[in-house]
């Protein structure tokens, strides 16, 4: 009898499926994974530390860079937390625009997930199509904010600017064509025998384990746990929109795939409702201590000049206290814990990043599976390393 020994190998950080900055130490018995230990921290950017030295409004571009696939979701969570500390609510038009753009962001983020997940498993064409559609969403970012990726469009107290002329038409034509495109991707994958073989019954996690590990978003809902923050603790007026919560039952890679596809359809429905009800009116709160005056005003009014100067040099102060605000980001519960000491800079900001928490469940999903399954499972958790390491 020969002695049975295991072998330890590194998967990543160079392996394409590990996004370049995640290292998985695998203990293998042949092709079977006996133990998986994730190592993170290659990207650690110290954003929570940097945020402590910035004024409240200056933190917004930092939040963009965490989950770079869903920058507007991060913006939203952060500005909602500051607004909660201030005790203010933004005007209805700003609310609806925020909802519309974060749902477009959800579609854009899920498209990147779909494309890369498919390419990890070996389906090339979906990747090309998904990125074509994402381009349309990036074009919308560019129209509203001037930037294609790190848009920083939301501000404490409202929006950076109102929607540009013709924007509604752009969105309308996108949501008119998108469901058909989505159906094409589904034709390529949903009933594809190879896809099913590679994903069904793979990376199963039980609902009680998922809750114990703090899994959230589509990864949690795929296990059959019905929890969506947009429904359970609505923010930004989500309670006025009609949509359904995605729900799976097996908690495997295939169900997570179906959940996200379903969510994209629901996002289209929310965007459509937002377009229908988009009210007229201002997009920022009428508070000169918070929102700088319009540029032409500065030349006419001394008062406006002073407010402008103060906001750009010292920012605004926020009452002392602490809040926790979470939103349903494309990856799950994105929470911002904000502590204020009453000054113009946050005393402490902590970002509860869903990717960080979801990645923790990886060892439980892969142990006992084949190395090839690991690639499918990483893709199905939909991690963004910028958010894992922060």
């Amino acid at each position: 009898m020969t002695e049975r020994r295991t072998m330890t190998i590194n998967m990543g950080p160079q392996h394409p499926s590990t996004h370049g900055v995640l290292r998985l130490v695998l203990e293998l018995d042949g092709e079977i994974i006996v133990r998986c230990t994730p190592h993170i921290g290659y990207l650690h950017t110290g954003m929570e530390k940097i945020a402590e030295s910035k004024r409240y409004q200056q933190v917004i571009p930092i939040t963009d860079r965490m989950d770079y696939l869903a920058p507007l979701s991060n913006n939203l969570a952060y500005v909602l937390a500051v607004e909660k500390l201030l005790g203010i609510e933004v005007p209805p038009r700003a609310q609806v625009i925020r909802v519309m753009l974060t749902e477009l962001t959800r579609i854009g983020s899920h498209l990147v997930w779909l494309g890369t997940h498919a390419i990890d498993i070996g389906a090339m064409s979906v990747f090309l199509y998904a990125f074509r559609e994402r381009e349309a969403i990036l074009d919308m970012y560019e129209q509203v904010s001037g930037a294609r990726m790190m848009s920083s469009y939301f501000r404490v107290g409202g929006l950076f600017a109102d929607l540009p002329e013709g924007f509604e038409q752009t969105v309308r034509s996108f949501i008119a064509s998108f469901p058909d495109r989505l159906a094409e991707y589904e034709d390529l994958l949903t009933r594809n025998p190879i896809w099913i073989e590679r994903t069904r019954g793979v990376g199963v996690i039980k609902p009680e384990d998922a809750v114990d590990l703090g899994l959230s978003g589509p990864s949690l809902r795929a296990c059959g746990v019905a929890w969506d923050i947009r429904k359970s603790n609505p923010y930004s007026g989500y309670d006025q929109f009609h949509f359904e919560m995605s729900r799976g039952s097996h908690g495997d890679v295939y169900d997570r795939y179906l959940c996200r596809i379903f969510e994209m359809r629901q996002s289209v429905a929310i965007v459509r409702q937002a377009l229908e009800r988009l009210p007229a009116g201002p997009v920022v709160v009428a508070d000169p201590k918070l929102i700088p005056p319009p540029k032409p005003m500065i030349k006419q009014s001394m008062e406006a000049l002073i407010h402008h100067f103060l906001l750009w040099s010292a920012g605004f102060t926020v009452p002392a206290g602490e809040v926790y605000q979470s939103i349903e980001s494309p990856r799950g519960e994105y929470g911002v814990y904000l502590v204020s000491d009453g000054s113009n800079k946050p005393y402490r900001v902590h970002f509860r990043a869903p990717s960080f928490v979801n990645l923790q469940a990886l060892p439980r999903m892969v142990e006992g599976r084949l190395v090839a399954d690991l690639v499918a499972i990483i893709g199905s958790i939909d991690i963004v390393l910028g958010e894992v390491d922060r």
Binding site: G41, V211, G214, N233, G321, E322, V323, Y324, G335, V357
Partner: protein
């Protein structure tokens, strides 16, 4: 809406006071959010009760982090954000920890606490007793200092790098 919320909080408060008459804790409410300050010795008992009581069911540990109140004693606050999937309530627990002291790990209550506690250890240097694998998670193993402490500079580089560039 607000008075409903208050009633829920009072339920948690009264249940806790009833169950743990000997444990001392204070509550504070700000912007409709309740914060419980508990002694670190009680944290595991209280967490387990909050998680398992059928009237509360705080089964989801949303977040665990810390705040450095530099200059105050005790210096650190460890902050727990709990969520009840069934009742849709949120609750914040807080524990004070002095520099150099340890606090019990809640990994036995929620598996999710594992990486969160490692991160707090890595960034603040707070040790969690009973954590099975308390290692640095974001910084390299050999890193000195705890970056999120208030007395740690925003711009800092590892020692070997400083030595190489200054030629010492």
């Amino acid at each position: 809406m607000d008075h409903v919320k208050e009633a829920e909080e009072n339920l948690t408060v009264s249940k806790l006071r009833e169950r743990f008459p000997e444990a001392t804790f204070s509550t504070r409410s700000f912007r409709n959010e309740t914060t419980f300050l508990v002694r670190s010795g009680d944290i595991i008992r209280i967490c387990r009760y909050l998680k398992e009581d059928p009237g509360l069911l705080y089964d989801f540990l949303s977040d665990l982090t810390a705040v450095d109140r530099f200059g105050d004693h005790p210096r650190f606050e460890v902050v727990y954000h709990l969520y009840s999937l069934q009742y849709k309530w949120r609750l914040r627990l807080k524990v004070h920890v002095e520099e150099g002291e340890a606090t019990p790990s809640v990994t036995s209550v929620w598996g999710a606490a594992d990486w969160h506690e490692r991160e707090v250890f890595d960034m603040f240097g707070i040790r969690f007793e009973g954590h099975h694998d308390l290692r640095r998670i974001l910084m390299p193993e050999e890193w000195e200092g705890f970056p999120l402490r208030k007395d740690y500079p925003v711009q800092a580089s590892p020692k070997w790098w400083e030595e190489e560039t200054t030629g010492d």
